[in-house]
Amino acid sequence: MKLPVNLLIGAVLVALVIGAAALSLVWTPQDFTVMNVRNKFAAPDTIHWLGTDQLGRDLASQLMAGARNSMAVALAAVLLGGSIGTALGLLAAAIGGWVEDLVMRIADIGFAFPALLFAIMLAAVFGPSLTNAVLAIAFINIPVFARVARAAANQVWTREYVAAARAAGLDRFAISRDHILPNIAAPVIVQATIEFAVAILAEAALSYLGLGAQPPSPTWGRMLSEAQTLMYQAPQLAIYPGLCIVAAVMGFGLLGDGLRDVTDPRLVRER
């Protein structure tokens, strides 16, 4: 089978971002916390590959460390929100009736609530931190996964192998665990990939507003926000983190689309 182009491009971009994040755990070109004000706004050279910022810190190293923060926040948020949302969707489909209506109406409310506003509220109440950023992004993911999981689960519930499992004496929760979850894994994983892109963007937005990771831990969003006042003096300080965000968001978005193309049998037949 020929792999779709969006899947390949997405996979390459994602591999680059994850590679940079993983590498930064053990090695960065320079120590990204070391300041050298005399060497501020340095042009790219062999020591500082992308130059330095207004405090003389190495830009390339900061970007790599920023990738690590972005990935960590996005991963934790999508895992947390995805697990809770998928569990709620499975529950709604398994029980049906008023429980299903209740779960889905709550999900609707979650959708209607502006996500960033919720994050700001959380930060205002509990103080800005990486944990609160994760919680806020996880929260906005719950209704998304609840919907996807419920729609897919309802389809699987109509299958004859589920009836056979009922005839075997399994209860609704055992059926959800043994048959529904494995058979809705594909759409949920696709959704997780797409939500990963959204989470990276949300993390950048929160950091930009100063509600994410706190200094000196670098994030792409905060690098952007700090570069804002220096836009005319040193536009590269905004351009590089901006490009990183675009690459990461686009990479996960394309990967998710590509995975959906590959796993959705209807689309496979059309091709």
């Binding site: 075997a168 004496g169 058979n183």
Partner: protein, 257 residues
């Protein structure tokens, strides 16, 4: 008597057509009664929409009748507690119509066949799965394969293996051969008859195809639009049908054969 269905009625409420009128009601099964003795086969014939599958679903306790009682081996299925019903389920099993939809694509064949045994907490699961596979003419080595590696007829054999692995007293077969080629149909029908002799199974055999039902059943019941048109010993219904609809079914089956 292993299965005794008395005056069972099932209605479905259809979507509302007008805001101020009550939603229309479809009577899927209207006052149906039937009984099956141990080792006997009752065939239900009827076109799609005749209520025969709804009746099967009620016999399997997948849904409740609005009126009437369904007794399996003396137990009123709708009076049992959830736990009691779950324990009783191993004694009546079902073979479904679609051999492609009745096996979980993500589970191995052996896993699916062992499912009712695991629920029972039965010992010796692996050996009993091998036995069941052997009963339906498959090899023990097939247990490790996935459903997509088998043909439709083979999958139906696997579904039958899953249904008989708990040694049930009653097997409900809802259009169990309708999705298969004619030559494969005959093989599966022969298999079901052999198993019936060997295990003393009672069978509720549902089909839209009178020719198929005639070849396997002791008793016959003809349904249309939820109503029972006639029922009786198979040879009698086939030789001297009392209802014009049964006669038209017979003519159609004769023309096809």
């Amino acid at each position: 008597m292993i299965l005794d269905v008395r005056n069972v009625t099932r209605r479905y409420r259809l979507p509302r057509r007008a805001l101020l009128q009550p939603p229309p009601v479809l009577v899927a099964v209207d006052n149906a009664s039937l009984s099956i003795d141990r080792g006997q086969t009752l065939g239900i014939v009827g076109e799609s929409g005749s209520g025969k599958s709804t009746l099967a679903r009620m016999v399997m306790a997948f849904e409740r009748p609005d009126q009437g009682t369904i007794r399996f081996d003396g137990h009123d299925l709708n009076a049992l507690s959830t736990a009691e019903l779950r324990r009783l389920r191993q004694r009546f099993q079902m073979v479904f119509q679609d051999p492609y939809g009745s096996l979980d694509p993500r589970r191995t064949v052996g896993w699916s066949i062992a499912e009712p045994l695991r629920v029972m907490g039965a010992p010796d699961t692996a050996r009993r799965v091998d036995e069941a596979l052997d009963h339906v003419g498959l090899r023990a080595a097939d247990a490790g394969k996935y459903p997509h590696e088998f043909s439709g007829g083979q999958r139906q054999r696997i579904a039958i293996a899953r249904a008989i692995v708990t040694r049930p007293a009653l097997l409900v077969a809802d259009e169990a051969v309708s999705a298969l080629d004619v030559s494969v149909q005959a093989q599966i029908l022969n298999l079901l008859m052999d198993l019936q002799d060997e295990l003393g199974l009672a069978m509720l055999f549902i089909s839209h195809d009178l020719a198929v039902v005639a070849s396997i059943c002791d008793h016959l019941m003809v349904m249309q639009h939820g109503k029972t048109l006639e029922s009786g010993p198979a040879h009698q219904v086939l030789a001297a049908p009392s209802h014009p609809y049964t006669r038209s079914l017979l003519t159609a089956a004769g023309a096809a054969a």
